[in-house]
Symmetry: C2
Subunit: 721 residues, 2 copies
């Protein structure tokens, strides 16, 4: 289950669910095959498995009611002109449709909402241009500018209006941090061209536990990002339209559902939806900066003195650190690009690196510009109005600009959630491939999106949203701990990476990464400590629990992998009994058992099927009392006693228990036997008919499941008469 | 599905789940058997199906971990000394225990609460003596005396105090009605010695619809009896201990659960629990009558004039009829004996008839005695105190007698519910045997009680109780409609019965039944009309709906029965193709299909199992893209290509859909083939591991279920390594 940094282990592919065998496994397979003896060679198949496709085009009506639809096709010839293997068919689109009518209708509706399915071969083309990638990946990062400076000033103002001046040096440090982290990720992207998420970088360089810790932090952060962003966005809407306030929770869930649907459609389409609002926000804030700085230049950059605010706390180191940590939330989302490298158009890493550069540059301009402008205008955080709104009102006293700014802010907050929709499923994909998350997160849905991961994120975020009733003020303190945990581990991992691979410029890179790791670690510690009581403890508790869960999942898959691994057959002539190697056909000794409750069409079908296998067969009847047992034996004789019958009187009227115990006793008497239990299954057409039947077949199956070498065969009987 | 009145169709037997074949069905079976040809005769079984039991006692340790427990035994020799059929074993008690440890613990707990399981042969001995049957079956009937007279007077007093004198003639008419209905049921019991419930009598003589209508009425009444009695009983308790009032709903549910547990233990034990309170109630009321009448005799039976009450309504015919109908609730429960005839000791019908006689006599004495005594003492119904309580306070001014009377009344009201527990499951049993109710109501639990019917009644009554919050005043108006519907249909049925079977005394009996039917019918109409607005409309709506449901269930079972009925094979030599008769082994043509996702231990086991069957075999692999398909074929060749492989590229990455469609296409190409799909099933030991797997096996099974002639075989792979 280990992963090598040198293989193509970071490629996202639809075949990830089918990992190739290692050379030694192929070798074992060959040795098993050498000893394989079927009891008699099958003399051809009674039907052509290629459905006659290779001979000629099938005539209409040939396949009964399926004829008008071409469900399977012969694969097209290879570009090099090589003949394809004969035993291959390609399933066409209709072959994916379910058979039942309601399921078909659902499938069509799904197609209308999500678009037609995409072929696996389309996975390469579903890539993002830089101008599209920028808004998709940066909405989380840039939207933080809407609340980051304010979060910092809100802490500083606790020490009185005079302390607000500290915002300028703190902003300077934060800009250094942003540039350092940005530079650090610039180094990481080419080193991990197939996706440089913190999970992968930390796993590779610091070990699985560090990787899982980073993953747990990121996952919590993604869920919180969606919940918080949606809450903030919905709050902006309900502030404008107070009549909608009682519908906060359904509105939020609706927004999450729309985001889910948009992302299930696939990457490019999702991008198209999100391009405009992000650029609108950037343009609006840039306009704000230009006009604001222009006015400040008009008065010679003389800062307006802020109104006097009484100090609530002394100005200590802890307060400054808390302000720094709060300001650092402006950086959440910076890792989005490095996670999404494979979603870029080729050359992926180069385009990703350029996009990251633009993003960090924009972040620095917006963040620094806003912080300084707030200082110049002498603004103070007020609980009833955001600083951005104050700034907008001051800068654009008239005209539509203020409204536009607020609308763009609300919209980008809603869309910031989308970054999480991009990264969360991809993270789960990588984790699942290493066996740290359920395998189903490997599966690419019919739109080539990781449907299961998207669904998991939506459900988790909606749950958080509903549990907190859309009042996510209490969630914000939890917000930055997870992401800075991941930043720190990722950059520390890069330090190890450069130390292990010395080369041109690796010393400079190591220094950059070390600086970034140290600063991120400081922010992490400050955030965890300063916000511990307000909710950060939840993250501190949840991260180890998640790591434990991932670890347990990994252990289960490892056990499974070992148990299902092929074992070479023993050396020497094929032994008569099953050895510790794989079972071979010539070693299987059959006993077919047919439980018969009453003699009717269904049980005779099962008996006919059993007898037609030509293996030793035994019928078993469970009778509630002697009278019934005698009566049944009489019927059996009337039929002709074609199969040996064993009657078990169950004086306590239980059926499944005695039958299961009897099969177990048979197995104990002949441990080398494979018991095939053949059960007729009457297929109900209507769902409401099911409670009218005893489900004996299902209960028997469940009771027999733990028994070794007991094979259960269901012979369907359809109600047509 | 028809039932003949002359067969033993009214016997309650544990074998009812296994109805015997009709002679023509046995004949068909023989003709099918004549044409039966297995492909090669099995040369003996590889293991002795009697587990060597007939040869010698097994030595310890022979059956592995099961050795210490003798799970199966040889049946004891028949009393006549006849040798038993060799192919029979008897499951001992431990063979009923489930295998898994939590299920075993649950099973033991269940045994502690409900007692050890009872053998089917014990069904004859689990019978009631008359002195035990009387309290069990009469608690419903006699408890009605506690509210019957009051219900009548409450209506009469609406026309003023002067109208109360009408209670004497009305009581006289009711006594006539009681005696008439009692005599009527006395005629019914010997005519239907195996249970003379209204459902059976009405079905037999008036047709299935009348029987179902009676059954629907009775079922509603049983559920209401439980809910109302428990509510009244709990109310009596909470009146004495007001602190318990907030716990009305949980208390009621607890009482229902205790009643359920008592009845699941079985008839005799349940009787023992209920003997004392019923006799205590009878003794207390008799003492009341003796003392009260003695005092009245002391004053020369001069009635005390009742206090003046102003009239609210005029004294019209409708009011008198309403009073009559209200008084008639005293008769609910009179049908209990005739339903329970088979639960009596032999000779059942004679003991039942005697018990019914005693019951009606007691009812008449208590009802008439109380009504006249109330008149003599000049008592008037008051909302804050029951008439019985007023009478007790007046008759026993000092001493413990009053308290004893009230306690016995509360207790018998609680226990009245028990009559419903006796009759409801039995009614469902008869309906299930006719195919009018789900088959599972035929099953006798391990204590020989109809566990499923008891459970259904408890759940329904608890639901009604919870929905109405234990305030069942609003349920009382619904109460009598159902039962008088059943009375009327049952007695009308007996009229038809005597007309069809003229004989000695049949004219007298017909007249008695006709009188009873007419009077019951009048009460029914009066009750339905007078109480329509107060809730009786619910019953008027529910009865036809229930009848429709029973009818639909019957239709489904009839369809099933027809579909599963044996069809004779066509005359002439055995045809090569499947004809419209039953399928025979020589007609089954196999194609074994093994879907293989990856080559590991599990899929190789499935392949080995498939190959060992010696039938034509085809492996199918579904690949998400060409690359993966090529890789898989390479591995297949490395293994040795022992089985023909067909690869299906599914470009939209769905697996189940294309596979199901492919199997359907194969079936269309060879309609005579039986496709056996062999799927490995990895058995998870822990429940929490299940979400980590895709459940492809289950989903495939569900997708294949609608396909004809597609057999699904699960080869279990247990995780041991």
């Amino acid at each position: 289950m280990g992963r090598d940094a040198d293989d193509d282990g970071t490629v996202v592919t639809p075949s990830a669910e089918f990992p190739p065998l290692r050379p030694d496994e192929v070798d074992t397979l060959g040795r098993i095959g050498e000893r394989w003896r079927a009891p008699r060679p099958p003399d051809g198949l009674p039907v052509d498995p290629t459905l006659d496709r290779y001979r000629e085009r099938p005539t209409a009506g040939r396949f009964g009611r399926l004829a008008p639809i071409e469900l399977f096709a012969v694969p097209p010839p290879q570009p090099a002109g090589l003949a394809r293997a004969a035993g291959e068919l390609v399933a066409t689109e209709p072959a994916n449709l379910p058979r039942s009518r309601p399921a078909r209708a659902l499938s069509r509706l799904r197609r209308v909402v999500l678009g037609p399915p995409l072929r696996s071969s389309a996975v390469l083309y579903e890539r993002m241009r830089k101008l599209i990638a920028l808004p998709i990946l940066s909405s989380d990062l840039l939207s933080s500018v809407a609340y980051g400076p304010e979060a910092m000033l809100t802490v500083l103002v606790l020490a009185g209006g005079g302390a607000l001046g500290l915002s300028l040096p703190l902003a300077g440090v934060l800009v250094v941090l942003m540039v350092a982290v940005g530079l650090s990720y610039r180094q990481t992207i080419p080193a991990y061209p197939h996706g440089a998420g913190s999970y992968i970088v930390a796993s590779d360089n610091l070990g699985a536990m560090a990787g899982l810790t980073a993953a747990a932090g990121l996952m919590l952060d993604y869920v919180l990002t969606v919940a918080v962003s949606v809450a903030a966005g919905v709050h902006a809407v309900t502030s404008a339209l107070p009549g909608l306030t009682p519908f906060t929770v359904p509105l939020g869930v609706l927004v999450i559902a729309v985001l889910l649907a948009g992302n299930l459609r696939g990457v490019r389409t999702a991008g198209n939806i999100f391009v405009l609002p992000t650029y609108a926000f950037v343009v609006a804030v840039l306009a704000l900066l230009v006009v604001g700085w222009g006015r400040a230049a008009g008065r010679g950059f003389a800062p307006v003195p802020p109104p006097a605010v009484p100090a609530a706390e002394g100005l200590g180191l802890l307060l400054v650190l808390r302000a720094f940590a709060s300001g650092a939330v402006s950086m959440t989302g910076i890792e989005a690009v490095s996670n999404a490298v494979p979603a870029f158009k080729p050359t992926e890493w180069r385009n990703a690196r350029t996009t990251l550069g633009w993003m960090v540059a924009m972040l620095v301009v917006l963040f620094a510009g806003l912080t300084v402008l707030i200082h110049l205008d002498g603004l103070v955080p007020r609980p009833e109005e955001t600083l951005l709104s104050q700034l907008g009102r001051l800068t654009f006293p008239t005209g539509p600009w203020y409204a536009l700014l607020q609308a763009a802010t609300a919209l980008i907050l809603l869309l910031a959630a989308n970054t999480a929709f991009n990264d969360f499923p991809r993270l789960l994909f990588f984790m699942a491939r290493d066996g740290h998350a359920p395998r189903r997160f490997l599966h690419m849905g019919d739109r080539l999106a990781f449907s299961n991961g998207l669904l998991a994120l939506s459900v988790a975020a909606a749950l958080v949203f509903v549990v907190f009733g859309g009042h996510t003020e209490s969630l914000i303190p939890l917000y930055a701990v997870g992401v800075f945990l991941a930043f720190t581990l990722s950059q520390a991992g890069m330090v190890v990476h450069w130390r292990r691979r010395p080369g041109r410029g690796s010393r400079r890179r190591l220094a950059l990464n070390a600086l970034g790791a140290t600063m991120s670690g400081l922010v992490l510690l400050t955030a965890a400590a300063a916000k511990f009581a307000q909710g950060a403890w939840l993250v501190v508790v949840a991260v180890p629990l998640l790591v434990l869960l991932f670890h347990r999942i990994h252990r289960h898959y490892a056990t499974l992998h070992r148990a299902l691994a092929l074992r070479p057959p023993p050396v020497g002539p094929a032994p008569a009994e099953a050895a510790e190697g794989e079972e071979l056909p010539q070693q299987v000794r059959h006993l077919v058992v047919v439980p018969v409750a009453r003699l009717n069409r269904a049980s005779l079908r099962a008996l006919a099927y059993a007898a037609s296998l030509g293996q030793p067969t035994l019928a078993v009847h469970i009778a509630p009392e002697d009278v019934e047992a005698d009566r049944f034996r009489e019927q059996w004789r009337a039929w002709g006693s074609h199969v040996r019958l064993e009657t078990i009187v169950s004086p306590y009227r239980a059926v499944i228990g005695p039958l299961a115990h009897y099969l177990e006793a048979l197995h104990a008497a002949g441990p080398e036997l494979t018991l095939t239990v053949i059960v007729p299954e009457v297929v109900q057409r209507r769902r409401w008919h099911r409670p009218l039947h005893s489900r004996a077949e299902q209960r028997l199956r469940a009771a027999l499941r733990p028994l070794p070498q007991v094979v259960v065969t269901s012979v369907p009987v359809h109600l047509t008469g």
